[in-house]
Symmetry: C2
Subunit: 209 residues, 2 copies
């Protein structure tokens, strides 16, 4: 088994933190996205979608999606649980993970890729060329502002994003806050609950993954 | 337990088909999105995000996300399995569900909401107002064309989207194809594998849900 990774990129970091929390180590293969290695024939043969992370299993099968890779390891090694325990908690964690991804992580992706000169003509990940849409970059920044406020309110009365336990929703949220630094946005000064949570999850050893 | 629903809308239909496949029936509460009932105080108290579907449990807890609701029922009643069986299959189904949602379903959402006069000023679901972005509508249509081609290729050598078994990935894909009709796009004439699959999954009784 091995994981195709690119150390500076936010999406594979979500998997690395997930694995670190479970104490799983894997051989890593770096795919240098800054050198466009994801578009080279060698990597296209691994993932025609030209993205990392990709998990390659011993039988050669490949899983080329962040969440699906986490689903794999959660089923393979349930402890410590990162996707909820019991019927209702599993659903609750899934709902929060998706909300953080949609309203936070993807807002940063939109803001970053639609405004960064290096992504001109490549506003979406993947092999197809799409022009940048400046209005989408602007909307992404506005959405991220709303996201910080929503998260601050949700963390006022609980320890972690989905409740009492650290979960994959915290991982997505932590990576989102750090990724927001790429577009020069950070936790607003009046978001003390979000700041308290961020300092706590950042201090876990897994955050260095 | 009850489900807040709106019969004509694509997102709650995903849950209805999922429940029909499992043979689960629930009390339904219709929230008329065309009459803006989702923005009325009564429904904001149910879901501040102003979207359906929402599952309300007997203890009053609410799950306000399509996938999270499916996670709930998959854990509550595993048969028939719709999210994969075994470690690798669960990951594979999750990967396909997410790919279909991202490249298909959300492409239609973008194309529809950014070009339909009734959604002026409400280009994103939820309580916040965002202006339509015409370039995003156009990009959504282009992405959907790519999606149809990708799906046709993937269905050339297998029966269902994620392999040999009907799954939640088929549900998302079926709803995507029908939703595409709202923007006057349909399965291209040269996509015979996608057409074969569509006719098959549409003939299942659950498709009427």
């Amino acid at each position: 088994m091995k994981l195709y990774d690119f150390a500076p990129a936010p999406n594979p970091r979500r998997v690395r933190i997930f694995l670190a929390e479970k104490g799983i180590t894997l051989p890593m293969v770096q795919v240098n996205l800054r050198a466009n290695e994801q578009f080279a024939p060698a990597f296209r043969a691994v993932n025609a979608d030209c993205t990392v992370p990709v998990l390659e299993l011993d039988d050669g099968a490949r899983i080329a999606d962040v969440l699906a890779i986490c689903v794999y390891f959660e089923a393979l090694q349930p402890d410590p649980p990162l996707m909820g325990v019991g019927v209702q908690d599993r659903a609750n964690v899934a709902a929060w993970q998706r909300r953080v991804e949609r309203d936070g992580f993807l807002a940063v992706v939109e803001a970053f890729r639609n405004a960064t000169p290096g992504f001109k003509g490549r506003a979406l990940p993947g092999p197809d060329d799409y022009e940048q849409i400046p209005a989408l970059a602007e909307r992404g920044r506005a959405r991220l502002g709303k996201f910080f406020g929503m998260m601050n309110a949700c963390l006022a009365d609980r320890e972690f994003v989905a409740g009492k336990q650290y979960s994959i929703a915290d991982i997505t949220a932590l990576v989102t806050v750090d990724f927001a630094g790429w577009i020069k946005l950070g936790i607003p000064g009046d978001c003390s609950h979000l700041r308290r949570w961020y300092d706590m999850v950042s201090a876990r050893p897994s955050a260095k993954a």
